[in-house]
């Protein structure tokens, strides 16, 4: 039982990170029906910029005196940085193709993904970059459960971000405009919504969340690396689809499910660690077979290739 709970926490942490990345996929997909291949790169860039900022703060001696402030500040700045990066990518590589076939944009996104990944490699080097994990260390023991402070931090930050995003999308006018644009771009223009700006904002928010995930992955696992966006990118994409792509709550649920399945498969199925991705995908396929639009998917209209 203890081990089970322990694994639950592991799954929750991982799932929360997937959910943060999946949100960017799902929001962008919802609004312009693009599978943003470059999204994983925003996550990786976030991890790097975070560690760079922390290095600078450490050199100023700030990390010793105000560790929590530094982490918060680094998180915030990194999110802003990645939002700017995403807006630039959107402007350069996606916006000119707004009226072209969706596969053209997909390919442009792929090109951007390769470009950004190698850009990171060239500027940051091929070696892993270590995170100052000593800033947050320690375990909390609940009964027999051991939870690291970092895990608690990740879970709470993720929760705050998710709640904040929900409030943004469902409560504010801008959020409503995002949903309106996703549903009908022409009509939203006819009521005075600048869809270009709303799309850019969507990219910015999605990338900001991915950046937050990047920084937390850095802290949790101790290092970042230029190609780290790829695998979580695929998983998060799967999570977004599992939840019903375009649906924000769906992405959160999908992320948590994928994270849980992975951890549980690795923990409780013989030979499960090597096949854990298989289980994740099998769950995905089974769900989609019975619910072809995902767990929370609305009926998307028949827009295809």
């Amino acid at each position: 039982m203890e081990i089970f709970l322990q694994q639950c926490i592991n799954g929750l942490t991982l799932g929360g990170l997937y959910a943060l990345i999946a949100l960017g996929y799902t929001m962008v997909y919802g609004i312009i029906q693009l599978i943003n291949f470059a999204h994983g790169e925003f996550f990786a860039a976030g991890g790097y910029v975070g560690v760079i900022l922390l290095a600078w703060m450490a050199a100023q001696g700030m990390t010793q005196s105000h560790p929590w402030l530094c982490m918060g500040l680094a998180l915030l700045l990194t999110m802003i940085y990645c939002a700017m990066l995403a807006m630039a990518v959107e402007r350069v590589a996606y916006k000119p193709l707004r009226h072209s076939s969706r596969l053209s944009v997909l390919l442009s996104a792929l090109g951007m993904s390769i470009f950004l990944q190698n850009g990171l490699m060239l500027t940051q080097g091929v070696y892993d970059k270590a995170y100052p994990t000593e800033m947050v260390s320690g375990l909390v023991t609940f009964g027999g459960l051991q939870i690291s402070i970092m895990q608690i931090l990740i879970l709470s930050t993720t929760a705050v971000l998710l709640v904040g995003l929900n409030a943004l999308v469902f409560r504010t006018n801008v959020g409503k405009a995002m949903r309106a644009t996703a549903q009908d771009k022409v009509m939203s223009a006819l009521v005075g919504i600048n869809s270009g700006r709303i799309i850019a904002l969507t990219f910015a928010i999605g990338a900001g969340l991915a950046a937050a995930a990047g920084i937390m992955v850095g802290f949790n696992y101790g290092s970042v690396r230029y190609d780290m966006g790829f695998v979580p990118g695929i998983k998060a994409f799967a999570a977004a689809v599992l939840g019903g792509i375009g649906n924000i709550t769906g992405a959160m649920v999908g992320g948590l499910i994928i994270g849980m399945v992975e951890v549980m498969a690795a923990a409780y199925i013989q030979g499960g660690t090597e096949y854990k991705d298989v289980f994740a995908f099998i769950i995905l396929i089974a769900v989609l077979y019975f619910m072809p639009t995902g767990i929370m998917g609305e009926n998307v209209d028949d827009t295809r290739v």
């Binding site: 592991n10 942490t13 091929v126 696992y221 790829f230 992975e262 690795a266 030979g271 090597e274 854990k276």
Partner: protein, 377 residues
């Protein structure tokens, strides 16, 4: 390190541009194959830099008579059989005198077949899979050790020093890491150690919490960690220690990289690794260290790559020709102290292994235990 890297890249680009410029005289061309991009780019660049360092060292010693200098074609094998073969073909077309590489055994094997068709000598600094030299290729040499020898060293250490009763094995499913882990599992079982389980993780995984939670509840005496990448090793160490796993951790040469301590910091302390014995007091090592200084800290394979290139170039120098048969004869004659080990090739192209146990202590790798003598250093 960041800006250093940038400088290295600039230098590489400049070298490359220079290489494509008009040739002033007959230059001796050699090639290197290693993953310069992709997940193994770290080790791949170490290899390319090791070769560059060897060229610098040889040129400092007066170069090779009859040639106006040595030119390196550093090709990217990306650890992908397809690209490795393309790169090997490119080297063949460029008529290189010999090739140092590749890294991943799955790239080395098909690439070596291409080179073998044209009788181009190939010296691998890093592919430890037994098959590399066991296919009867005439011009295939291996400067690093072999997986089977490495597993022996690890198991000897388990029984001889750690006196472990139970063992947990984890690998990340590459040709190399799994082959090694399988050997360890087999040998350990034969030696009477109880292998609790042999789990696999995937390359590129960052989260090992699921498997580590299992390990924690199994509470083995030792954990054999066979991963392809030092950063993955560091991640596993951090997470294991954070969870409170106290088992002795034994890694292998792919985890052996200064990165391990950089990332894992104190979590790496006390970890054991099997690695070729490097005597840092030899003349050869000092020469290597000074030649490599321009490229930063040596990685795990920098020394082997340096030795491979050094052997190749000295053989060409001695043979006064690039004729493969003559070069091979010189290589076989060679019996020298290299930067990484004593080099003397056997008939099949292997040069023997000298694995010892090293340990992380105070953020440094130190020699710890010698399986041949069963003594701590």
């Amino acid at each position: 390190m960041n800006r250093n890297m940038w400088r290295v890249l600039m230098l590489a680009l400049a070298l490359c541009l220079a290489a494509t410029g008009p040739a002033l005289g007959a230059k001796l061309k050699i090639g290197s194959l290693s993953p310069l991009t992709g997940p193994y780019a770290a080790d791949g660049n170490d290899i390319a830099n090791g070769v560059r360092a060897a060229i610098a060292a040889i040129e400092k010693e007066g170069g090779i008579p009859g040639f106006d200098g040595i030119e390196l074609m550093a090709e990217d094998s990306a650890c992908d059989p397809k690209q490795a073969v393309a790169a090997a073909n490119k080297l063949v077309s460029a008529k290189v005198a010999g090739v140092v590489g590749a890294y991943c055994s799955s790239a080395t094997i098909p690439a070596s077949e291409v080179l073998a068709e044209e009788d181009i000598p190939m010296l691998t600094p890093a592919s430890t899979n037994e098959k590399v030299t066991e296919r009867g290729l005439k011009y295939m040499f291996r400067v690093c050790g072999r997986d089977d020898d490495q597993s022996v060293a690890a198991v000897t250490f388990l029984t001889g020093h750690l006196k472990a009763k139970t063992l947990y094995v984890v690998d990340d499913k590459t040709t190399y890491s799994q082959g090694l882990a399988d050997n360890v599992e087999k040998l350990a079982a034969a030696k009477g150690i109880k292998v609790i389980a042999h789990d696999h993780v995937n390359q590129g995984d960052k989260d090992f919490s699921a498997v580590l939670t299992k390990i924690k509840s199994a509470n083995p005496d030792a954990l054999y960690m066979s991963l392809q990448n030092s950063a993955s090793g560091a991640l596993m160490l951090i997470q294991a220690r954070r969870m409170g796993i106290t088992a002795a951790v034994i890694g292998q040469d792919a985890v052996y990289h200064p990165q391990l301590m950089e990332i894992a910091k104190e979590a790496a302390e006390g970890a054991y690794l099997t690695f070729g014995f490097i005597d840092e007091n030899t003349e050869a090592y000092k020469k290597f260290a000074s030649a490599y200084a321009a490229f930063g800290k040596p990685g795990a394979y920098s020394g082997y790559a340096y030795d491979s290139a050094y052997v190749l170039l000295s053989a060409i120098k001695a043979a006064k020709s690039t004729d493969p048969a003559k070069v091979k004869a010189e290589i076989m004659k060679m019996d020298i102290q290299g930067a990484s080990k004593k080099i003397k090739f056997m008939a099949n192209g292997d040069s023997g292994s000298n694995y010892i146990i090293r340990m992380v202590k105070g953020g440094q790798f130190v020699n710890f235990w010698d399986p041949a003598t069963g003594k701590t250093y």
